[in-house]
């Protein structure tokens, strides 16, 4: 067991309103995304990872050849010229067809988001290639457009960045505002929004362009139930139009409700790929197994706590009873 596994986050959220829902089966077309032996490495300037190195992704220092007489400089290298490489995705290959809805699961730092960015064409890979039909559009929680500008301006900027014309954006404006459900806040700067409002507006903007491949990174986590329902129907729309949806989420129930196929990533590699229930069950088992176990010490502590609670309850009950008795006695005396 590596250090990474011990430091892992246990993120098996279950959203009650998703329970029992399933993604619609749609007719699958030809391949629309082919990923071939994808490696993503990014350079981190100004940080030399030691401990973080073990967290899922592989981090290694770029070995600069240091002659013996420069050994003295070594002491300062942590602060001068600190460059590390994060090997976040390590050789991933898969094919996705039109109309598929793919969920990506994995513990924190397993390279899910980086892979999503790479297959959206936003993060250049080190080696390997990604082939797509149409234009992929990534929607992430952090995709802040321009915080100092109003929502209205941001809708325009986002729409134009996605390749719409100003006229098309104007036409979609009302639809976007209605979908995001932010009302008159659209005329205030985006920095005044709550994080949920911001995420909702961004989701509305990026799905307004009706992309061929919609990639969603945790965005649904910030919405309320009504918004989730709306986004789910939007996702179904994309799939019905032979589009493809990718969804990265920590909520396994959201994935189960919206996806037909799941990719499980671990330490930058694909470890499982298949129908939603099969992979989701295996992943759930894996995450449960990671939970701190019921060791003897923990069990004893729990028992003690329970006993103390019961004693307190009993005491309270007794006190109540005594009080009632006293009252009854008083009442009787008064009558007498």
């Amino acid at each position: 067991m590596t250090e990474a596994d011990e430091h892992m986050d246990f993120d098996l959220e279950v959203e009650p309103e998703d329970a029992g829902q399933e993604a619609l089966e749609t007719e699958l077309g030809g391949p629309c995304l082919v990923v071939d032996d994808l490696h993503v490495v990014y350079r981190v300037i100004g940080g030399r990872a030691k401990k973080e190195a073990e967290q899922g992704a592989e981090v290694r220092e770029i070995k600069l050849k240091v002659p013996f007489h420069k050994r003295l400089l070594r002491a300062g290298r942590r602060h001068v010229g600190a460059v590390s490489e994060v090997h976040a995705v390590r050789g991933v290959s898969f094919t996705v067809r039109h109309g598929e809805s793919v969920g990506i699961v994995g513990v924190n730092g397993s390279g899910k988001s980086t892979m999503l960015r790479a297959i959206a064409g936003l993060m250049p890979p080190k080696s390997g290639s990604v082939h797509v039909s149409g234009e992929p559009s990534l929607l992430g929680v952090n995709a802040a457009l321009m915080p100092s500008l109003t929502g209205e301006r941001n809708i325009m900027i986002g729409g134009l960045a996605l390749g719409l014309t100003p006229k098309q954006v104007d036409e979609k404006f009302d639809e976007v505002v209605e979908f995001s459900g932010i009302g008159d806040f659209v005329y205030l700067p985006m920095k005044t929004y709550s994080s949920g409002m911001g995420a909702r507006l961004r989701f509305a903007i990026s799905s307004a362009a009706s992309p061929d491949i919609l990639m969603i990174d945790e965005a649904l986590a910030t919405g309320d139930a009504a918004f989730k329902e709306r986004s789910k129907s939007r996702i179904e729309d994309v799939r019905a139009n032979a589009g493809t949806v990718f969804l990265v989420s920590h909520s396994i129930s959201t994935i189960e409700a919206m996806c037909t196929r799941v990719l499980w990533m671990h330490q930058g590699q694909l470890v499982m790929d298949g129908p939603v229930h099969e992979v989701a069950d295996a992943y759930k088992n894996f995450v449960r197994a990671q939970r701190p176990g019921m060791g003897p010490a923990r069990r004893r502590a729990l028992q003690r706590k329970r006993a103390a609670e019961e004693a307190a309850k009993k005491k309270a009950e007794e006190a109540e009873q005594k009080k009632a008795e006293a009252q009854a006695l008083k009442a009787e005396e008064a009558r007498a």
């Binding site: 082919v34 071939d36 290959s93 797509v132 992929p136 995709a143 590699q269 499982m272 790929d273 197994a289």
Partner: protein, 331 residues
Amino acid sequence: MSTPTTDAAAPAKPAASGDAKKPPPPLVPSTTSAERLALAQQHGLRPLNVRPPLGEYIRSLASRWAFIRVLATSTAYAKNQNNYLGQLWAVLNPILNAAVYVLIFGVLLHLSRGVSNSIAYIVIGVFMFRFVEASVSGGAKSISGKTQLLRSLHFPRAVLPMSTVLSLLTTLVPAIVVMCGITLLSGYIPTYTMVHVTWWWLLLPAAVALMWIFNTGLAFIMARMVASVPDLDNIIGFVMRVLMYASGVIFPVSHYVENLGVSETAKTILTGVLDYQPIAVYLYLVRSVLMQEDAFPPSGLMWALGGVWAVVFFVIGFIVFWRGEERYGRD
């Protein structure tokens, strides 16, 4: 086919070893790399992260002109919007700037400029130079400071440096109005020669446009350089300060070459370089248009040079930037 697909060679067996604590071993794909590439080609899929050919790149950039414009005007507007005086600062800022420079260099320090209207000389120099300086530093940050945007939206990256300079141009417009006003008013100071509005003033937009093209080229080069070596951002301030004195922003530097203890040929070369380098050329153009001074006669040579510098810097800058296109956002 309506069942979900998988690319696993063998159907995955969850926790086959019975140890649920370990994730399954990495998958072995069912297809080889060559098969996948053939499949992609067969269905006409487009490879991502490949630098588009120059022609296609220019076309996709041209189709985003509205994006460049909206981004530029919105950032220019947002800059002043969180103040009580709001957009008034677009005019107040240049006035205060001009006041400081005129006070220090025009009133307190007496330098020979070979012109009688020192105030117009300084104000024009400072305002136009600030346009170049802001383009360089803004261009430098246009890629390296927007990693979040680069990692969330897909568009030709040349949009960013272009909109940065366009945004500076929109903030320059009120500054130019202030600059013209100060130039006119300074003519009423008794010892200065009178400044008149002449037909030459109509050429001011042309000079500013040439500068805008030149600055965009500079911004392209800086964006690429700082995106690959962030350290360069620290040096820009020093280089720009040297350029400020070398371009005759506050006082004509070529006059001081005469006093240097070097040979005559070295003096000629040095004067030539100082007078005909792009920033000096653009300052000359704006001064020759606005001021009626003997030191700045209208010059066809300078206009031609201004055009050449603009085209050269823009074309080289654009190509330099385009060659890094597929790498932006990686670091």
